[in-house]
């Protein structure tokens, strides 16, 4: 078991290094001079003197790998540089926004799971019945709706027309509702389709028939056996959703003005605040990798037959 963990950690380290390299490369390859961008972002007039000084300060004349190494080493210790716009710590900005996005992400994830899991079980058990067709249609539609579209439509129907909720979100639970709903609807659609398929597959396995012939209660079969065996697939889907949540948060938080990482990133893009963009991408990738690592480890706990490469 130790060998397995060691292998995984090594692999993880490799991926993290590669991620950081790619992220840094991304910024490095961005068109335009970094010093110019920084000065522009701060609204400082660019003169040759100021430019040269800024370039020297930023260490832009050093070879690429040195710059990368310097950045990566600092990043490892939590220093992600400072914002072009106001020179505050990027890590600090991320830290402040992190909590809000976490709340949003967990809220929408919880909402999606609470709705999709029971419905998936229902539609799998009552396959090809009327509720099954209706739900499959809705989940198909929900899955086809882009995040920004749902957000705008929700805003229109609930805020503008029905005047149920304010247009600008409060930073509390009431304000969380709309953005969470916007993120949750397409996710629920996707979850419903995929969970249903997995549960159907499990229901076709021989142990289900075996349990029935032994007289095991249907609800024991469904919850204790089918769900248990299906949870690997369920976990995979949830793990991958973390990625879409990050992406979706950019749109949703911007629309509803929820002060999370997504809004931070979008503002940074608008302001050409590259260090912040960089920090966001790095953070999102690292979290994504860690979450998927966790789900990988969890597989083994659910199904001991699973061996990782």
């Amino acid at each position: 078991m130790e060998k397995y963990i060691a292998k995984r950690l090594l692999h993880l380290a490799g991926i993290l290094i590669a991620i950081s390299f790619l992220t840094f490369l991304l910024m490095y390859l961005a068109p335009g001079d970094a010093a110019v961008k920084k000065l522009n972002a701060q609204g400082i007039a660019v003169s040759q003197e100021v430019l040269d000084k800024t370039r020297a300060d930023m260490g832009l004349d050093r070879p690429f790998l040195v710059q990368y190494g310097d950045w990566a080493w600092k990043a490892l210790r939590g220093d992600l540089g400072s914002s072009y716009k106001d020179s505050t710590s990027v890590a600090g900005k991320l830290g402040k926004a992190m909590g809000h996005t976490a709340l949003l992400a967990l809220g929408s994830l919880a909402l999606s799971l609470l709705v999709s899991l029971p419905l998936a079980m229902l539609t799998a058990v009552k396959r090809d019945s009327v509720p099954d067709y209706i739900l499959r249609f809705f989940s198909f539609v929900a899955n086809s709706l882009p995040n920004f579209l749902i957000s705008v439509l929700l805003m229109y129907f609930l805020c503008v027309k029905a005047r149920l909720l304010p247009v600008v979100a409060d930073k509390n639970f009431k304000g969380l509702l709309l953005p969470a709903l916007a993120l949750s609807i397409p996710m629920t659609g996707r979850f419903l389709r995929q969970f249903r398929a997995e549960i159907l597959e499990q229901l076709g396995k021989s142990y289900v028939g075996g349990a029935r012939s032994r007289g095991v209660k249907e609800r024991y079969i469904l919850v204790r056996n089918v769900l248990h065996n299906a949870s690997i697939s369920i976990l995979t889907v949830v793990g991958l959703s973390v990625g879409t949540l990050f992406g979706g948060s950019v749109v949703v938080e911007t629309i509803f003005r929820w002060p999370g990482l997504g809004k931070l990133a979008m503002d940074a893009i608008t302001n050409r605040d590259y260090p912040v963009i960089q920090g966001f991408v790095l953070f999102a990738a690292v979290v994504y990798v860690l979450v998927n690592l966790l789900t990988d480890v969890a597989y083994h706990w659910i199904d001991p037959r699973v061996r990782q490469e």
Partner: protein
């Protein structure tokens, strides 16, 4: 005459309207082991499933199944399930397949017992140890803590049988319980089955294509061909002197170590289930006479307790 635990009378069953088995009748006495033999596709698995009545898509087209006085075929689905689950245990070809491969036996045993209202936490350990012990499994704690995927085929078969005992089921239906096992393990499991009958009085219907097993294990043997029972009789007598031409050809098809070569029959067994009229074997039968194509199906007593469906001259020994 020993008391009957299962009576099957004129049973026809099939998927989607056309019968896979037809006109099957026999009685299983309490504590008796009946081995049903036949080639692949003869309908022996369908027969078992029809008795249990839990196979989706399989319908009883005619006849009755009576379990210990209760006519199963007339009951609504839920009642039937309850009655069956209480008294009948089923073991499949892959004995581990009936269990969730990645959950411990302990959890699955408990949930089965709970579902049947038989779970007593205080007595569970002892009773399970006893049942497992009867099947030759001496480390009950280890067995219960294991998951099916970790166990060998033979052990999985034993655990499945142990649960049958725990559930107090009196009739065991087994569909090729040994076919997936190694030869030596096959014998062990067969011996366990016999022991269960001696010690616990477990009545059994064992479906198998292995004639040697049937002869070793069964009190009686039933031969199925093309969805119909063509011969039924005491195991030893039937094996020594088969009355139906098909059974004779089955016996002759076994190569033996003394150099006797198998003599296969021409043609193929019918694919479409029991023939509507006449003998389904007539087209391949060396004894087929003029009346065989139209003669209605009927089991005729050839000697004490030994029946054959053959109606041709020289068919009866």
């Amino acid at each position: 005459m020993k008391e009957a635990i299962l009576e099957i009378s004129g049973l026809s069953a099939g998927y989607g309207g056309a019968p896979s088995v037809a006109d099957v009748s026999f009685t299983l006495a309490r504590g008796e082991i009946l081995c049903v033999v036949g080639e692949s596709g003869c309908g022996k698995s369908t027969l078992l499933k029809a008795v249990l009545g839990m196979e989706p898509g399989l319908r009883i087209l005619a006849g009755t199944v009576t379990l210990d006085g209760t006519e199963l075929t007339s009951l609504p689905e839920k009642e039937r399930r309850k009655a069956c689950a209480a008294r009948i245990g089923m073991v499949f070809q892959d004995p581990g397949g009936a269990f969730n491969p990645i959950r411990s036996y302990r959890k699955q045993f408990i949930e089965t017992l709970r579902s049947r209202g038989l779970y007593d936490p205080a007595a569970f350990e002892d009773r399970t140890a006893e049942a497992l012990g009867k099947l030759g499994l001496t480390e009950p704690r280890r067995v219960l803590a294991s998951c099916p995927y970790e166990m060998s085929g033979g052990m999985k078969a034993r655990v499945a049988l142990a649960l049958t005992l725990l559930l107090g089921q009196e009739l065991l239906l087994a569909d090729e319980p040994t076919s997936a096992l190694d030869a030596t393990v096959q014998l062990q499991v067969a011996k366990e089955l016999r022991r269960l009958r001696e010690a616990e009085g477990l009545s059994q219907i064992i479906v198998t294509h292995n004639l040697a097993l049937a002869e070793f294990l069964g009190d009686r043997i039933a031969v199925l061909y093309g969805g119909r029972l063509v011969e039924l009789g005491p195991a030893r007598a039937l094996a020594a002197a088969p009355a139906h031409p098909y059974t004779r050809s089955l016996m002759a098809a076994i190569p033996s170590l003394d150099g006797r070569m198998p003599a296969p029959l021409p043609g193929q067994p019918p694919l479409g289930g029991p023939a509507a009229a006449g003998c389904g074997f007539a087209d391949r039968c060396p004894l087929a006479g003029d009346g065989c194509q139209e003669a209605p199906y009927a089991l005729r007593e050839v000697s004490q307790g030994h029946f054959s469906a053959c109606c041709a001259e020289g068919g009866a020994v």
